[in-house]
Symmetry: C2
Subunit: 332 residues, 2 copies
């Protein structure tokens, strides 16, 4: 299997991207194409032992910067590393595209370069989110690809999410919920009420509305929402976790005995942080485009990049594209 | 000052409501009318020392139950404690209405019974939310009164929120932000982009978009959003805090040394919980109806009820209704 990594994408590229690619190539026996500035990539590769690994460089002369206007930059910079990596997939030279770059740019590059799967109304960006469920996580989508949606988009997000949770994450008969303001049928915005009606008739295990607190409780395996709400949720989760952790630290620091306790409890805190760490999951799949695409956080470190490449492998290996295409035929 | 408390509203009424009313009457020197079943209330009052306190019973023969359809129940049960409490305010026999009952019912009772302030398009339910800002909290609205809104509603929520933060919470020149998916101008849903345009021209200190993580960071003193997003945020916050705390507990329990540490650090954890405790804030004001209305959590305990009554007093004392009416004249 061959994965094309945008080696120039992310806050710490090509340092962490090359490191992550080498790590993934070693751990998973994959070919990881490093797409970008050949000199910069080669300089990073020299820092690693790549004996026996397949990490070829694919040259690209431009980069979509983090602060550029996504779709304009993607259109203007034809030879940007993202665009080149996408073309590798489009032309069959690789099976998946992974990037930690400008996420709006990544969306645009994948959408323009790979196109939507025929029958998919809108692609959705997903993420894996820690919960208190048995398997410890839920699959949340859309987290930002579409800020304005229609009920039928949400119903399709449910279908794609259900297939991903089952085929790629290995959850049998995943429970699909829609984010709303009350558990009861008919609660929520007009959009959600109409979407829930469509989802009841859809060929997946729709369990109805989930409230904000049900998401973390793990009531649903697949949590469907619009890209506005989903984006607010994941960024709010980041902010709230940070606030809670810093509140605990400052309360502990304010009390001498608690400080001793805090030192003893430190490995436990590290355990919690690891459990809730987005780095473990390695970024989110962009579902609905005609090519496996994984978009990960701009702040990703090498370990996250490694895991994002693993996520791409899992999606390819379990043929998520074929499953979505078959899912569309079934729901016609 | 006279406050009308729905003594029958909430999961633990009239036990905690009567207790909270007695507490508030003693601490703040207020008259608190206990509206509801006279026998049940009298039985609770006997458990407390009410010497020198003014806690009269106002009879009401019906109750809106927690699982009833809000607006239907409010219309059908004219003599429900909520409706009677609202009529006390409407007829000038008291200055504020406080309830921990069915929150949809409370909204309907206040809206039908008190009406909107002339010129207010939609009332908004607010809450006070802990943040990392200097004063330690932000004022968030709407958290559930309106799941479907228009840009001009959001702009008005900003006005009402700004006035409440300044007059009642004592924050000078409060910074008003709107929840969106990016900090930059023009990011977000169509609704938010249009609302932000109106808010730029509004006579309050609009600072632009705030992302999910900016809410807890405390970038804005007043955080404006639609009732769908706001409701998801506060319920998600509840769920995520619970998940984090229980993750910390189970990690600590899994390690013998950390367990000793956890015991020593226990007062610090209690400190964090108190800091983030919604009970301190005592429920949210319903802004835009023509009477001071405080709606608090159905799970409220006596302390929360006491604080909700204090919030009502603060709103009356600082004439929030007059401020909103004047604000409407200024923005015409």
């Amino acid at each position: 299997m061959i994965i094309s990594l945008d080696a120039m994408g992310g806050d710490h590229a090509p340092d962490v991207t090359v490191h992550g690619a080498v790590w993934a190539a070693r751990d998973f026996g994959l070919t990881v194409q490093l797409v970008g500035n050949p000199d910069a990539i080669a300089a990073e590769l020299e820092k690693h032992n790549t004996a026996g690994l397949d990490v070829p460089i694919v040259p690209a002369s431009e980069v979509i910067e983090m602060d550029e206007h996504p779709s304009q930059a993607v259109k203007a910079k034809k030879d940007a590393s993202m665009n080149v990596a996408v073309r590798q997939v489009k032309t069959g030279k690789s099976q998946a595209f992974v990037t930690a770059g400008n996420s709006g740019g990544a969306l645009a590059a994948a959408l323009f370069g790979l196109g939507r799967i025929r029958g998919i109304k809108r692609p959705a960006l997903s993420t894996i989110f820690p919960t208190q469920s048995e398997h410890g996580f839920a699959f949340l989508l859309d987290v930002g690809a579409n800020t304005d949606v229609k009920p039928e988009f949400l119903a399709q997000f449910g279908m794609m999410g259900s297939l991903y949770a089952e085929k790629v994450l290995g959850i049998p008969n995943p429970r699909v919920g829609i984010v709303s303001t009350g558990e009861e049928d008919g609660k929520g915005s007009k959009l959600v009420i109409e979407a829930a009606e469509l989802m009841k008739a859809a060929p997946y295990n729709f369990i109805g509305n989930v409230e904000g607190k049900d998401i973390t409780a793990g009531l649903a395996d697949v949590v469907v929402t619009d890209g506005f709400t989903g984006n607010v949720i994941i960024k709010f989760a980041e902010g709230l976790s940070k606030m809670l952790m810093s509140a605990i630290e400052s309360e502990i620091r304010a009390r001498p005995l608690a400080m001793v306790g805090g030192l003893l409890a430190k490995p436990a805190f590290r355990g919690v942080k690891a459990k809730l760490d987005y780095r473990e999951f390695g970024g989110g799949a962009l579902l609905g485009v005609d090519g496996v695409t994984i978009i990960t956080h701009g702040r990703s470190d090498a370990y996250t990049i490694r895991n994002a490449i693993r996520a791409a492998r899992d999606a390819v290996e379990n043929d998520i594209l074929g499953a979505i295409k078959a899912g569309l035929t079934n729901s016609e």
